[in-house]
């Protein structure tokens, strides 16, 4: 057991802090209020190698270990959750899938371009009738000789509007459950791909999530990622990693909320002194601090499991994301309350953080689905196999 960061990680933290303070935090309010895609931030991140954070150096990646990646997401999440999530989808959802399942040709072609930010990855899994329920996926990919023909539509495709590369999950056979699903690497500019409606959201307003239509899109057979029928497994594996990133973002945003709340409690006076002297406020702060520390340990543990390639990650990532998203929301809620009327005003960062965090209990698996996964894992050794 060693809870300390190693020398590299400590150096990275310093670098992430500087980067976020200079390149991300100053743009956060504008990104939210104007619903601006975080392109400037992405460009700056690419210069630091963050867009290839966990890719090996031979693909121009920064080759960060998973703990360092979690630290990166934490700092980005603290500065601007929209930017953090955009990068997490690009790196942990799309990039990691290619890294693990791509052919050498696919990796050589795509990963350096992703590291450089020339290609931003978008993740196309959800459909209007299928969120958590993969068996309900209807987008189809029919094999015709050396190509697949894609038909259907995907909703809430994060990064579709700013990205070049879509990781698309489509049905290649009618086998039950996830077995009939395959993953494809589709260029946005392929004829028959149309990026449609950009979702208007409560928070995370810098995020670009669109509906994407596939109308007889021809995808060459060499754009299949992994084997036919392996798509669902690829998606789940990518989600394991991205849930670690997402949890780290929650941790960072919660820390930002706590810092803002603490500062306000010190500076704002009522009844003849700073409100920090009121026990009710102290309890808010104490509970939040305790939860932040618990989140930190969960995040680092999950990141460590990911780094080890440990199979316990599947459930632990679900646990971490469940706890982190709910704690973070709770903390933001309390810290908004500490701000009183000011917290409801857009001038104050806590207003944005609160709206941003409400997404986390829904995105990449709702809390309800995560609870199901955890319960299923818990009951499995007892001979009970739960179905949703």
């Amino acid at each position: 057991m060693d809870f300390s960061l190693n020398e590299d990680q400590r150096m990275f933290v310093k670098m992430f802090e500087d980067f976020c303070a200079n390149e991300v935090a100053p743009l956060a309010q504008e990104t939210d209020h104007k619903e601006k895609p975080p392109l400037k931030q992405l460009e700056a991140a690419s210069e630091q190698g963050f867009l290839g954070a966990i890719f090996p150096e031979k693909y121009d990646g920064a080759e960060l270990d998973m703990i360092s990646y979690a630290l990166l997401m934490e700092h980005l999440g603290k500065a601007c959750a929209s930017t953090a999530l955009t990068i997490n989808v690009h790196v942990a959802l799309v990039g990691s899938a290619i890294l693990r399942h791509g052919t050498e040709e696919q990796k050589e072609e795509l990963l350096p371009a992703m590291s450089a930010g020339e290609v931003i990855g978008a993740f196309a899994l959800s459909e209007s009738g299928a969120g958590s329920d993969a068996a309900a996926l209807r987008t189809s990919a029919v094999c015709q000789g050396d190509r697949y023909i894609l038909r259907g539509s995907k909703t809430w495709v994060t990064n579709a509007g700013i990205g070049q590369l879509l990781l698309v999950f489509a049905r290649t056979s009618d086998e039950p459950g996830g077995k009939g699903i395959s993953a494809f690497l589709v260029d946005v500019d392929t004829p028959g791909v149309r990026v449609g409606y950009r979702e208007k959201t409560m928070g995370l307003r810098g995020l670009v999530a669109n509906t994407v239509y596939f109308d007889g899109t021809e995808v060459p057979a060499d754009r299949l990622l992994g084997q036919e029928g392996q798509g669902f497994a690829i998606a789940l594996e990518a989600l394991d990693l991205s849930r670690v990133g997402l949890s780290a973002i929650c941790l960072g945003a919660a820390e930002a909320a706590l810092e803002n709340g603490t500062r306000f409690a010190v500076e704002h006076e009522q009844f003849g002194g700073p409100i920090a002297l009121k026990q009710a406020i102290q309890n808010f702060i104490a509970d939040s601090r305790a939860e932040v520390e618990a989140m930190r340990h969960l995040v680092h543990y999950a990141a460590w499991l990911a780094e080890q390639g440990d199979s316990r990650l599947r459930t632990q990532a679900a646990i971490t994301k469940l706890i982190c998203s709910e704690y973070a929301m709770r903390i933001a809620n309390r810290m908004l309350q500490v701000h009183g009327g000011y917290g409801y005003m857009k001038e104050y960062a806590i207003e944005r953080i609160y709206r941003d965090l409400r997404a986390m209990e829904i995105a990449e698996g709702t809390s309800q689905i995560l609870r199901f996964l955890i319960a299923r894992d818990q009951f499995a050794p007892h001979g009970i196999s739960l179905r949703p």
């Binding site: 329920d133 979702e199 009844f271 009710a280 857009k346 409400r358 829904i362 309800q368 179905r387």
Partner: protein, 388 residues
């Protein structure tokens, strides 16, 4: 014990519900986006007596008491929190102060046009460092012959940008503090020296304008002293007490709307081959919401009955506001969860309801202040005086 609603109130509720559904609900989204409740809605509501529900008919009111007023706030709160806030700040606190403590002449001159909705009222207590802390009020009213010269600025004033008549709390004797040193005044906003300052950009209730009100050496005749000279603290405490009951009613409406939408969506949305309502997680949420809503309904309408029958109700009013705002936030947050990603989208009204609901835990005395009010009231009966 008889919990039946008198028949006239049943018909009143039906009329208001029809009005809310047909005239207000279709505009709710626009009200949020355009950040304004159209004057046309206020005019139509006024024509039906809805701008003066609790006030006697002799002053142009509806004569429906607190019970009728809670019915109004519940039904409007169901469809549009911004509109409920505009009506609430006007009726429940702005005009209410004049109704509770005004002289017959003041009521004739000011309450009558307010109750008819020809003029709009606001209630100005809060300042940059004085909300619940009356001792910190800085706005001064200095005697000058038969008049007072009012100087200072009030912040976060609901209806500030549209108010014609404002009940303002000002210090008349700094040496006496809140008890004896603060006086309430009726101020007409078109008097020389009155102006609207900064208009706030808020998370929710965006259709209801919140602004600073600036008083720069405004000459206020002594006839416009509201209540006893030096007893402004009593006036505003009484007023806020009444306002809290109807605020609880508006929260009840919001919570009820969240429950109804959750039920509809849980029936309609299918995952894993069945409507999601067949998941116990969803059933629990619906059962919890329904239980809390019924508890809130009983609390609100019993307190309204206490107001109408002249019983002391301070503690219960604070409970209405505290519990109401928390039930509404919880229910609407669960509705967001049941809707999943769609609940986070600005295309559906759940997202707006979530942003709107959050203010109720803050304004008209934060929930922390309500807890102090409740605890103080309880402990006073035990012979213990609590200072905040």
């Amino acid at each position: 014990m008889d919990f039946t609603l008198p028949k006239e109130y049943e018909l009143l509720r039906r009329m208001i519900r029809d009005f809310a559904r047909q005239e207000v609900a279709p505009l709710a989204k626009r009200i949020d986006i355009e950040e304004e409740v159209p004057r046309e809605i206020i005019r139509k509501a006024a024509e039906l007596g809805m701008m003066g529900v609790p006030f006697p008919q002799e002053y142009g009111g509806m004569g429906a008491g607190e019970l009728g007023y809670c019915i109004l706030m519940e039904e409007i709160g169901r469809v549009c929190t911004s509109t409920a806030t505009v009506i609430g700040a006007h009726t429940g606190i702005g005009a209410m102060a004049i109704y509770l403590d005004g002289t017959p002449e003041q009521k004739k001159k000011y309450l009558t046009p307010l109750a008819r909705g020809e003029k709009i009222a606001a209630f100005a207590l809060t300042e940059a460092n004085a909300g619940s802390d009356a001792a910190a009020i800085r706005t001064r009213a200095v005697r000058d012959g038969d008049d007072f010269i009012l100087t200072g600025s009030k912040m976060f004033i609901t209806n500030g940008p549209i108010a014609d008549i404002v009940s303002v709390m000002a210090v008349t004797d700094p040496s006496l503090g809140p008890r004896g040193g603060i006086t309430a005044f009726i101020v007409e906003m078109d008097w020389k020296g009155c102006s609207v300052g900064k208009v706030e950009d808020k998370m929710g209730i965006r259709g209801s304008g919140t602004s600073e009100l600036v008083f720069d050496e405004v000459r206020v005749p002594k006839e416009n002293i509201l209540g006893q000279f030096g007893a402004g603290f009593v006036t505003f405490m009484k007023t806020l007490d009444v306002g809290r009951v109807s605020l609880g009613a508006a929260c009840l409406g919001g919570a009820q709307a969240a429950l109804e939408r959750s039920i509809q969506w849980a029936k309609a949305r299918s995952q894993f081959g069945k409507a999601i309502v067949h998941n116990q997680s969803i059933q629990w949420m619906i059962a919890n919401m329904a239980t809390e809503i019924e508890a809130l309904r009983s609390l609100v309408y019993r307190t309204a009955w206490m107001v109408d029958t002249g019983q002391p109700f301070t503690r219960y009013a604070a409970m209405c506001k505290l519990y109401g705002s928390e039930v509404a936030s919880r229910c609407i947050s669960q509705a967001v969860q049941i809707y999943g990603a769609l609940g986070y989208s600005r295309d559906l009204e759940i997202e707006r309801m979530f942003r709107d609901a959050r203010i109720a835990e803050i304004f008209e005395g934060t929930n922390e202040i309500q807890r102090i009010v409740i605890a103080s009231d309880i402990m006073r009966q035990e012979g213990v005086r609590i200072s905040p």
